[in-house]
Structures are given as C-alpha cells and as structure tokens.
C-alpha cells in the first residue's frame, strides 16, 4: 500500500508502507490518499477526481535541449525558407535567427519561455506571410524536440 500526499491537486510526497506504521506528510495541509502499490504515481503528478475515483496524471515531459542545427531542423523546410526571407523585413524574426546563428550558441533549451516565445513569434510571422500553418500545434511539435 502507498500513502500519497496531495496538496492543491499535486502529489507532493509518498510513502510505500510495508508494515504497520503511521505515515504522514511533513507539508502542512497535505491530504493523504491510500492507493494500491500497482498504481503508477510519483511526486509531480497531478490528481484528478472523477466520480469519486482518483486518477494520477503524469506531468508532461520536460522539453529537451538541442543543438542550434538540430533546432533549425525542427522547422519544416518551407518554414525555414519563409523565416529566412522574413529576416530582411521583420526585426523579431531576424533577432531570433541571429541568436541561433551566433557561434557561441551551442544549445537551445526548449523549456525556456523566451525560446518558446521566439518559436511562436517566428511561426506567427511565417503564417501571416502566407505559409499557412497551425501555429499552436507546430509550436507544441517543435518544443517536443522531435522532428517531423
């Protein structure tokens, strides 16, 4: 049996109990849920209760870090070509691509908010320039770090 400690719908601690003992969280306000050992749960999971039954939901995977060339390859060739053509007229696109072209840029952390904002900016500009795409779904795909 596992005692899972939940605060604000998030799992904040856990004790796997094998013999009779009292298990508690040291975090004030945390609620204890008793779950079977077979249930997959860990700190960082969220808890959703549907019809009185708890479901533990794993957090989304952390976006990876990739090299600058790998990052560029996450865009489709049409997106890259359109972004390249926009550099001359759009300072936002030019600035973002400038950072990628800087030889000191060895890694692109896809988890960073500034990187994610840059991706969205470029995709929005590419879309507005006539290369029709679903900005949010393409952004999600690029942040996953998995090429098409």
């Amino acid at each position: 049996m596992k005692n899972v400690f939940v605060l604000n719908s998030a799992v904040v601690g856990m004790v796997s109990v094998h013999q009779n003992c009292i298990a508690e969280s040291t975090i004030e306000g945390a609620v204890t849920l008793e779950v079977d050992d077979s249930v997959e749960v860990a700190v960082g999971y969220s808890v959703d209760t549907v019809d009185g039954v708890q479901r533990f939901i794993a957090p989304p995977p952390t976006p990876p870090k990739v090299t600058a060339p790998q990052f560029k390859m996450l865009f489709t060739s049409k997106e890259r070509i359109k972004a390249k053509s926009l550099r001359a007229t759009d300072p936002g696109v030019d600035d973002f691509w400038d950072l990628l072209d800087d030889p000191r840029t060895t890694q692109v952390d896809l988890a960073l908010a500034s990187v994610q904002e840059g991706i969205e900016y470029v995709l929005t500009a590419v879309n507005a320039a006539g290369e029709s795409l679903d900005v949010q779904s393409r952004k999600t795909a690029i942040i996953s770090g998995i090429p098409l």
Partner: protein
C-alpha cells in the same frame, strides 16, 4: 512485528513506527552528493552525516515506544526492522 522493510519514504514524509518488541531499525538514506548532508530526522534529530553517498543508521527501539522518522525535501530513505 516482522523483520523486513517497514516503509520507503519519499521527500517531505514521515512515519511513526511502534514496535511490539525490542527492535533494531535500520535506516538507509542517500546523502546530498555535494554537501554530504543527510536530510533525514529521527525523533526530530537530524541524522549525522558520515560521508557522501548512502549511509546507514541503526536505531534500537523498545517495545511500545514510537519512533518518528522524517525526510526533508529532495530526500528519501528506506526503513527496515530487525527484531532483536
């Protein structure tokens, strides 16, 4: 009471264990890899660091006397019981 693992504690957790006969509790915890600190308390007293890596603390408990073992953030431990 039976010999074996009592509980596996994740971070920010505690157990209160009361043995029915004289018992040795063996507590294995990983220490902070940088500082060597042990983030485990036994009856409110922080376990002493004996080096970086895995440490083992032996706690002898009498029958009926509760022992509280708690972990801090980013810490975990395994508590096992050995009947004396």
């Amino acid at each position: 009471m039976s010999t074996g693992i009592v509980a596996v504690l994740g971070n920010n957790s505690s157990i209160t264990y009361t043995a029915s006969s004289e018992t040795k509790l063996v507590i294995a915890a990983s220490s902070d890899v940088l500082t060597g600190d042990i983030h485990v308390k036994i009856n409110g007293i922080k376990a002493l660091s004996v080096g970086v890596g895995v440490i083992v603390a032996d706690v002898y408990v009498s029958a009926g006397v509760p022992v509280k073992i708690e972990t801090e953030a980013n810490s975990n431990c395994i508590v096992s019981a050995l009947e004396s």
